[in-house]
């Protein structure tokens, strides 16, 4: 016998999948990951990309955002609730893979973190602490072996519904797309970028609304270099 009955039919209550969708997008992540186990239809719904997007936007509306504190040297992450003024620690966690122990946070965007091993310049990782999923990134090809990135950032590209990582080098910049798991390289031409590139240490970007900003201090001046994710331009 072919079993093709949708699980919604089994629900004694007359509840359409549209309404279930609206309800489940308001449930916190940890519960949701467990609720995949409820039945097939729930598993399919919760695993869907559209569901993830809506859930992310809904979490922002509900102000369910957390403050992340990274304790250097112990490699512990603390998550605190911003809703209550007392800042209660919710969870303490350690980033899972051994290679990235003592990793430092370079940039964060919508609860996604870009991490780096402080002793290596070639390996980076993207981590989502609420689902504990991670993706390691190999550094993009560079002509000069000793050329290390001078700036980096993470942003959300709403036009492609994709999270992207940008690395700035002396001569060019590279963009990593999480959806495609690939890099694209572009030449830089701006003077501001050149000054940024002169900085020896890696500048950590601040991600706001699809753009990444790098504050940079020159002797008597301060400049903000930014990358606009919509137009793919450094300014």
């Amino acid at each position: 016998m072919v079993k093709k009955k949708l699980a919604f039919d089994d629900i004694a209550y007359n509840l359409s999948s549209d309404i279930l969708f609206l309800i489940l997008t308001r449930v916190p992540v940890k519960s949701l990951l467990r609720f995949k186990y409820v039945c097939k239809a729930w598993n399919v719904m919760i695993s869907d990309n559209e569901f993830r997007r809506t859930h992310r936007d809904q979490s922002k509306v509900l102000a369910r955002e957390k403050l992340l504190l990274n304790k250097h040297y112990t490699n512990e992450f603390e998550f605190r609730d911003l809703k209550t003024s007392q800042l209660v620690t919710i969870t303490m966690g350690v980033f899972p893979p051994e290679k990235f122990r003592k990793a430092i946070v370079l940039c964060s965007c919508d609860g996604l973190l870009l991490l780096k091993n402080p002793r290596a310049y070639k390996r980076y990782v993207l981590w989502n602490p609420s689902t504990e999923q991670y993706q390691t990134l190999a550094c993009p090809y560079s002509k000069d072996k000793h050329d290390v990135p001078n700036g980096c950032g993470l942003y959300y590209d709403s036009s492609a519904d994709d999270y992207k990582v940008i690395f700035i080098y002396k001569q060019n910049y590279s963009i990593y797309s999480l959806n495609n798991n690939s890099w694209t390289e572009k030449a830089t031409s701006l003077r501001g970028v050149v000054t940024l590139a002169k900085k020896i240490s890696l500048s950590r970007g601040i991600s706001i609304g699809g753009c990444v900003f790098w504050p940079y201090y020159v002797v008597r001046n301060s400049i903000i270099v930014y990358f606009d994710g919509k137009s793919d331009e450094l300014k």
Partner: protein, 159 residues
Amino acid sequence: MVKLKSNDDKEFEVEEAAVIQSEMIKNMIEDGCATSVIPLPNIDSKTLIKVIEYLNKHINMGKAAETGEEDDLKEFDEQFVNMGWEELFDVIMAANYLNIHELMELCCQSAADRLKNKSVRAVREMLKITNDLTEEEEQEIINDAPWAFEGPEIDDTVN
């Protein structure tokens, strides 16, 4: 006054100011289609009474902030969603059909809060869902996020 008729043939009179919180009825009134009784074939009288109670309380939402009635409204909302699953789903379906955004938000959030932190067994029992996953699928889900199945906050009670 606007007249609404439930699917079990009961008529209810509601003030226009209250009923226009429903986008659907508001559009009907604007289009001049609400001159006589508006039949609501998807809503029974029990549910319609609840919805009208909500509409009457929320009649002057904008003014509530000025007159300091916000707390009162909040208390009403909390009391309002204090109902069984079946009744809650009926109200959600009605709010969805009538397109009453605020009521939809309130009820969906209430449903989500009830499900939050519940164990899988509790959710299945509460919503009367039969598990239809194969063993392999179950194992895959657990392997993906074993930590989601552990923790002191997981609540196995059904209420």
